[in-house]
Symmetry: C2
């Protein structure tokens, strides 16, 4: 039997051991999805705090219930560890690590590289390695493959003992298999989850594609094979570039229509009644989440290598990045109408996560808004039922806790700013008890709450 | 009975006489839709050639069958005329005239203004006037209303006899009614037609909205009332700006991915499998049609009045306008690979209309391509089963006729350029008998035809 046949047979009998590297918003639900389809799964993460939580059946992500984790742990189908030596036991290793931007808006591949390094250290014949992290076209073949195949020394310049060196004679598509399959997680989406969202798969070789497709076919409703890892990488970028550009477009039109005294939300609702050729996007206080504000710039960076600019991505970035500043200006204008300066005003920001009904703070524009209001001399508090305490992020460390929302506390503030429109908030009480309100999400209108103290921004 | 009640009762009993000004791609199907729902309709057009054609039951638009026209003519429900004095007989007047751009990319409202002028001349109490032409927010209240209400003299500076002056005491919403309802025609769409596409309606006053909505409710599956004519005007622009920007986005990504050796069409097909948050648009040789290349700049022009730029519209315009040049460069590159210059090469352009399966030449990029290839010294012919002879347009007057497509004729050409992908073309024969092919629509791939002489652009 060839390595491929052996691995296919393990996958088909579900005796293949699955290793998932990175147990965040992508890796954890993916690990559970495999376990729920009766694969044994080892989850790897460098964050030591996560391991005991998971192994005792607890969750650290709001929309993933602890019961899903404890069920698989108690069945012996899922275990978490930070000991990467177990990678060698796994038949399949799926890398789901973050791909952030550095402070110069350039790709930061350190997590992909260090994961590939760990895999390389423990690589053995017959393994399938899949990268799921969103990244620029070329990452799998130009970055991951060389680390796996020829050793990381050449790439990272690290000196290692001989026994740590990977088996250099390994040939991709014969001795081991490498694929890219972009994650399409949508936290909080009640209609679709990991198992029911079709999955694009591209292999380094036809054998790699065959093995990876067979794997995902076992757990995902539909797999979509494409001709290369580069096409698979580009697919995820197109999806997120499309979103970033269209959100920026409505943000720009919000500002244009606002000058003309036209309510952009009413226009969008009307346009949405066109039964073809239109998809509604909504303005907001800025982009958030790990994907939309970041992924597009991976293409921008890569395109420079080919002497070409990605103008739409740049323009979308410019307009979306400006949105918190626009909200600040709109707020200043509203306060000014009531003869108040933003300096020394007490502002309550409602909603901290980057989108509604989740507790995900990554890249949330609310964090930027706190910074901007502080910079203008305002006194800022926040309310978010999902974020009792603001966690420190790469950029911000505020040490703030959510206030209690009540008639009495609302009266303390000169202005309430709606930044995220969680469903589970009493907007009527906010409308009735706030001096002034700036609504960046059109939530009051949507809930049929009208009041003279509400301004849109 | 008030004027409103009287008009409503005529509309409800279908005894209201409908006048449609402008019998083109929008006005003609709208006139037929009213007639098919048993309203009597008079169609007005300044083009004298159209009148006898229509009155003898003939069609000049490919996707509107003559039988639809002759049926209504023979029933006595539809008649066409260029005598605008009959406007005074009509209870409802719907203006469906072109809104082009002038050579400086600025709105050219001459057809709206002259139509409003004609209506103004014949305005009588109890009439409803609706504008359907795509235009910038403010056209109905700032341009049409003053012409109707206070006389066109003030607007156009034309001296007229006293008896020609409109009745200046007319009050909108009481003595006559004015609304804006954007057309949403999509020529060639087999799923939706005039009667089944929901229609947005905005009135100058609540009475105007009520009357206009009652009218369209009689013939359209669903009407969508909005708060003002400006919101209705903005809605149509948003729909077309969205399309223009998204087509430009994939055109830009085509050029970026092409450098990276990634097939943008494969990427789009893969992204399309995402079941939420994505809508597929496709690259092409440039924008065409009367709406998408033009409407967005109406907003750009109006926005300048408010000291604000519409950057996405400008960028989309820049990239979409560049596409024919990109196709020229790609073609030159393909010829060059075979050691041929474009100068003196014989090029056959397949497909002249701006999109497939229709005979609409308005703003078709194929016309621009002929100009560019001529400019480079190529000898150009074209083939289009729907366009036997190139009609003169505002910009171009080529005096060319479609060639016959055959194995023999194909051999005469150094290169065949697919510009529009009509379904009813024998692509297999083209692939088998052409020396070189440049495919701007990915039609061969979609039809499963592969050949080494096909290049994508």
């Amino acid at each position: 039997m060839t390595q491929k046949q052996e691995l296919l047979s393990k996958i088909n009998s579900k005796s293949a051991l699955i290793g998932i590297i990175g147990l965040g918003y992508v890796g954890l639900p993916l690990a559970l999805t495999f376990a729920e389809k009766d694969f044994k799964v080892i989850g790897f993460d460098i964050d030591e705090n996560k391991i005991p939580l998971l192994n005792s059946g607890q969750s650290y992500i709001k929309h993933i219930p602890a019961s899903r984790i404890s069920e698989q742990v108690s069945k012996g189908l899922f275990v978490a560890t930070n000991d990467f030596s177990s990678v060698s036991m796994c038949d399949v290793i799926i890398i789901c690590v973050p791909t952030p931007l550095d402070e110069h808006r350039e790709p930061d591949l350190q997590f992909i590289e260090s994961s590939a390094l760990e895999v390389s250290r423990h690589l053995r014949e017959g393994q399938l390695i899949v990268l799921e992290s969103s990244t620029y076209p070329g990452t799998t073949d130009e970055v991951v493959l060389p680390i796996l195949q020829t050793g990381f020394k050449a790439i990272l310049g690290i000196e290692l003992d001989d026994e740590d060196l990977p088996k250099r004679e390994f040939k991709v598509g014969e001795n081991f298999f490498l694929a890219f399959s972009p994650e399409r997680e949508d936290p909080g989406n009640e209609e679709f989850n990991t198992a029911t969202i079709p999955k694009v798969v591209g292999g380094m070789t036809p054998n790699c594609l065959e093995v990876a497709k067979t794997l995902y076919d076992k757990v995902i409703v539909k797999t979509v094979p494409v001709s290369s890892t580069r096409v698979a990488e580009a697919t995820k970028l197109l999806e997120n570039i499309y979103r970033s550009v269209n959100i920026a477009l409505v943000n720009e039109l919000k500002m244009v229509f606002e000058r003309m005294n036209i309510d952009v939300w009413e226009v969008i609702e009307a346009a949405k009644t066109k039964p073809f050729g239109f998809q509604a996007f909504y303005p907001g206080p800025g982009l958030g989440g790990h994907c939309i504000p970041i992924d597009p710039f991976y293409l921008t960076w890569k395109a420079r290598e080919y002497d070409i600019n990605t103008k739409f991505i740049e323009l979308a970035g410019e307009i979306n990045t400006y949105q918190p500043y626009y909200v600040l200006l709109s707020t200043i204008e509203v306060l000014n109408k009531h003869s108040k300066s933003v300096k020394d005003s007490k502002i309550l920001i409602v909603g901290m996560s980057y989108k509604k009904n989740i507790d995900d703070m990554r890249e949330s524009p609310s964090l930027k808004l706190i910074e901007l209001f502080h910079g203008s001399g305002a006194i800022v508090d926040y309310y978010d039922p999902f974020i009792p305490k603001l966690p420190p992020t790469r950029k911000y460390n505020y040490e703030m806790s959510s206030i209690e929302l009540s008639q009495t506390t609302l009266m303390n503030y000169d202005l309430v700013l709606i930044s995220t429109d969680h469903d589970d908030i009493d907007y009527k009480m906010i409308a009735d008890n706030s001096k002034l309100i700036v609504d960046t999400r059109n939530v009051f209108e949507r809930k049929g709450i009208r009041s003279k103290n509400i301004y849109k921004a």
